[in-house]
């Protein structure tokens, strides 16, 4: 009898651990766009890391600020040295959850809308954020996309008066990830 319970517990444990699917990437694309009548600025980073745990919806991102690449060297310099202080704060990160993970079947082809909630840390300042995104599962390959806005002032980033008209107060951020299954 005891053996039976033990066995069923073990098989249950096995099933639970099997369904605890994790996905990750180390080649995630994160870009941002600042658009004012004076100037359009964009920068791209294709080395973001992300981990998604499909069993509970836990989602994390991390990105190195110095790996953002701009068209103009001067902008990249100002971004790193003056605005983001990337030597002091080399990373930005997000830790949170896909709130509606239960409605998303990453094993089945399709498009799924996602609501993501969590804490975003930029320039050493952490804020609660909520945004929407989309998971696309096609041929077993999982990709995720999201676009959201961040107010520069929320993260204590000071823009000097001289360039105030050149840099948007709200910056658009796009996330484009292809997840791979994490084999444990």
């Amino acid at each position: 009898m005891k053996k039976g319970i033990l066995l069923s517990l073990m098989s249950l444990f096995f099933v639970v651990s099997m369904s605890g699917q994790k996905y990750f990437t180390r080649d995630g694309k994160i870009s941002f766009f600042s658009d004012t009548p004076m100037e359009k600025i964009e920068a791209h980073n294709s080395k973001a890391t992300s981990v998604l745990d499909a069993s509970n919806g836990n989602l994390e991102f991390a990105v190195l600020i110095k790996a953002f690449q701009f068209e103009k060297a001067l902008m990249q310099e100002h971004f790193n040295e003056n605005y983001m202080e990337s030597s002091k704060f080399p990373k930005s990160s997000f830790k949170g959850k896909v709130a509606n993970i239960k409605d998303i079947n990453l094993k089945k082809d399709g498009e799924y809308n996602a609501t993501v909630k969590g804490q975003l840390t930029i320039h050493g300042v952490t804020k609660d954020v909520e945004t929407t995104g989309k998971f696309v599962v096609a041929g077993g390959k999982i990709s995720a996309k999201s676009t959201f806005n961040v107010a520069v002032a929320d993260y204590d980033i000071a823009i000097p008066a001289v360039v105030r008209d050149n840099i948007a107060k709200t910056v658009k951020i796009t996330v484009d990830i292809k997840f791979e299954e994490l084999k444990q």
Binding site: L64, Q69, L74
Partner: protein, 137 residues
């Protein structure tokens, strides 16, 4: 007299505008010509970040770092090639993302091959990440 002042102001203004224009259009660092600030093995670079991330950041960020190591794997995403060098750790490596602004002499890196890259060190996530890497033959 007044004319001289006016001309002087105009000349200064023009110099200012030209300087501003060139500063605004300042080119990115030429990675092919750049000389390495620090040269070390990929395993040593990773070990430094493992041991003390803050100290390693202070030492390596924004520096042209030249790393040598064994190719663990090569990935390509939208034409951007990244070569991961063995760091001695199973989960992590030293990622060298090839420079966008110059043409690489080759991209056919083989697993297990010994290579040397110089690039800008940007920090550590799962891997130590170097961007704008150029192969050092």
């Amino acid at each position: 007299m007044k004319k001289t002042i006016l001309i002087g102001v105009l000349v200064l203004g023009a110099i200012g505008a030209i300087t501003a224009y060139f500063m605004y259009n300042k080119p990115h660092k030429d990675m092919e010509a750049a000389s390495a600030d620090i040269t070390l093995e990929a395993t040593a670079l990773f070990a430094a970040f493992q041991a003390d991330e803050q100290a390693a950041n202070a030492q390596y960020l924004d520096k042209v770092v030249q790393v040598s190591g064994k190719v663990k794997h090569v990935t390509e995403e939208d034409g951007k090639i990244s070569v991961t060098l063995d760091s001695g750790d199973e989960m992590s490596g030293v990622v060298c993302q090839l420079d966008d602004l110059s043409t690489p002499s080759r991209t056919d890196f083989k697993e297990g091959e010994e290579v040397t890259f110089k690039g800008m060190c940007t920090g550590v996530l799962l891997d130590v990440v170097l961007v704008r890497c150029v192969e050092v033959p």
